[in-house]
Symmetry: C2
Subunit: 444 residues, 2 copies
């Protein structure tokens, strides 16, 4: 994308009403703009991050056999009356009446709707297990929306729902999803620690939340540093095999990890001091097993192997996709701006033309840019170099290719790595080869 | 995807309340389920089609320089009061009040919001032209929703908005978008004819609608058969050059094309009889140039080259993405079911195992399936062959690989092409090679 003709409006001033660093940086870097309290429009760079995250989430859901669907944003009130949650949900549910005076609501979650869709379509135990998910906008009418997309009202969430014949199957589905979550967060470039959680209003008996470590996090966390050394992407788990899943799950949950609410000082002191990790964290995912709570309430039963009908066991599994954009920035920034992990960055690199209008600089920049225009931002503005450096650091591209008159004359390009600040010089051919490699990644 | 474990519920009976063929086939093929009047959930096969269409739309928007954003579904009423459309819009606008008694609405279109976002960010003529688009769910509270996704209430639309310095620039933006639309529809595998249209409530002076030919279409159409022979994908147009755009536009609009409302018998009779085409059609896109109507109403002006501020000229450009799913089926089906064009099909091919449980058939099917599992549906159910053939025709996969005991013993696979019904036999190696080629297409 050429910056001179792009809708990437950065701000020099810090917006006064933004209380946390991710909110300030998202506004300053031109990722989002607020359109109403707790409601945001995603500008091109922000949308690219949102889609990169969504795609990683999607691939890891698919890889454990979950199937993607797309449920609508608006739901009939009648569905929620069947489960008993319509009256219980409270003022966070946005209730809507249409022109025919029928009651609708903007879905805050989808247990009722998916259970109903599943029950209409699936009749036999032979079709189980199934896990269905969607990535869709939801609405919770927060009394005081704040922290930008971290606690907005209209937000993007991945929610998955598993249906199993029995308790053992449901536990395997839960364990499979825990693996998918750990892999997802690893690919997103953040550390996310699974913590035993209360099940709360969703109900059920088994629940974990996933907490990203960030100094500005909402809750204190304590965990065993051995968790930091796990490589979930290469963890050898056969997700079709209950015993293999169970071995993975037992090992993963054997490491101590707790938020301050559930912290157990005695268990903590059993961990070797050099492995004790304390910090703060932000919840970005939550998984639940809740058995037959919704299938029973909605009257959804299917035929069993013995000819008797039964209520399938369910679990639900959420990831806050739009919240993650803020949470990743909370976990990865410095005073100059955002430091995007490579998997989620809106652009792999920026090309900084230090002398736009200079024939040689322009020609070299164009040559670099044409190698992978879909993955690069080209700062072709006529601004001074200092403004370009500042915007590049603010926007947080993983790599900066700096093209100035002196280097161009010598056939050299300067490369800066945003995460470390490291600078090096390279030949034009090496720069072209590095950029060509960006282009071979899957389109986001 | 393995059919035995997939959420692809086909129906044998024709749903009684579905009046048109695309609605019936979308329900029967398990693409969607209605969740409330005019509101649908997209099941895995339907969602794949919706995403394939969205991706083609996106690529062609990007290729003429439009930038993707994502505006929220809910909008503050205040924006629409500024343009004067809040009171004018009528009962199709879904009006919502939040817990703080603030008026919101579910966006039926986005002229107001994009004009406001643009005005906040862009200050100088140097940053023009810009075209912004998004693909987002919208809501129109139709008094009588019908025809399935063809006239639903919650629907997915691509809407683009161009901003230009002057009238000549705005016309070029309009012409660029016409080219993008013609290319989009060609890639979708449908014939879409551009017709001069009235501008209606959006206002403006220049407008075309794009009509897909389908025998069940809502309006009669008359056009010059020369339009059928155009290849827009290879039309040599330099989209940065106004003269080149204008040549393309004049030539394209010189061919006679009109709906029955605007049909001109005299002009029609000037066309050579062998080029006269009559049919019926469904509107799937609409483009407008309306000048400064919204920038003036919203008070959005920017600084000109002469130091004076001016109101940018705008156009807006819509494609009904969810409507297209129905419209493509209206244009492409037979008595047995859907005939998906290759670019939008949920799966490139189905593998029909005529004897599930037979070791040799199972092994051969697995071998074929593993070559490109993301692009194939594998019918591994234990149903009888007739049911599998019927479902394959109903679901409309472009190719069917038929694996039976006799062919397997001889190392042969039968191939059926859905569009023509043509059957041929091929070696296993040729089948593997053909399937491998599906896998090399970009992931959808």
């Amino acid at each position: 994308m050429r910056l001179s003709r792009s809708f990437l409006p950065t701000l020099k001033e810090t917006p006064a009403d933004a209380q946390i660093v991710s909110h300030r940086l998202m506004l300053r870097a031109g990722l989002v703009r607020q359109t109403a309290s707790g409601i945001y429009a995603w500008l091109p760079a922000g949308l690219r991050v949102l889609r990169n995250i969504s795609q990683i989430v999607r691939e890891e859901q698919d890889s454990v056999g979950a199937q993607e669907v797309l449920m609508p944003t608006l739901q009939p009130a009648e569905l929620w009356k069947r489960s008993g949650r319509y009256d219980a949900y409270g003022p966070e549910m946005l209730r809507i009446r249409d022109r025919h005076e029928r009651d609708l609501l903007y879905g805050p979650t989808n247990e009722e709707m998916i259970t109903d869709l599943f029950g209409q379509a699936v009749k036999s135990y032979r079709e189980l297990p199934q896990t269905l998910y969607h990535i869709q906008w939801k609405f919770r009418d927060e009394v005081r929306p704040r922290f930008g997309v971290m606690r907005g009202r209209e937000f993007l969430m991945k929610d998955a729902y598993s249906f199993d014949v029995d308790h053992a199957g449901a536990v395997a589905s839960y364990q499979r999803m825990m693996l998918a979550y750990l892999r997802t967060f690893q690919r997103l470039g953040v550390k996310a620690i699974p913590m035993v959680a209360d099940t709360g209003p969703i109900g059920g008996e088994l629940s974990h939340e996933f907490i990203i470590l960030a100094p500005t996090g909402e809750s204190g966390v304590f965990y065993d540093g051995a968790l930091d050394e796990q490589d979930w992407l290469h963890e050898p788990v056969d997700t079709d095999d209950h015993a293999s899943l169970d071995t993975f799950f037992r090992r993963t949950t054997s490491f101590y990890a707790a938020t301050d609410e559930k912290h157990d000082q005695a268990a903590w002191s059993d961990i070797a001091p050099d492995r004790q990790r304390e910090g703060r964290g932000i919840e970005v995912g939550h998984i639940f097993h809740f058995g037959t709570k919704y299938t029973e309430a909605m009257g959804v039963s299917i035929n069993g192997a013995d000819g008797q009908s039964f209520f399938p066991e369910m679990g639900s599994y959420g990831i806050g996709v739009s919240r993650l954009v803020g949470a990743i920035i909370e976990a990865s920034h410095d005073d100059a701006g955002i430091i995007w992990p490579e998997g989620v960055a809106p652009f792999d690199a920026v090309i900084l033309n230090l002398k736009s209008g200079d024939l040689a600089c322009d020609a070299l920049c164009e040559r670099l840019y044409r190698e992978a225009p879909g993955r690069l931002l080209y700062d072709d503005r006529s601004d001074r170099a200092g403004a370009k450096f500042a915007d590049a650091d603010l926007m947080g591209h993983p790599w900066q290719f700096v093209v100035g008159p002196r280097g161009t004359a010598g056939g050299r390009v300067e490369l800066k790595r945003r995460a470390t600040g490291e600078r090096s010089e390279m030949s034009v051919d090496d720069a072209l080869a590095m950029i060509a490699a960006f282009g071979t990644k899957a389109a986001s």
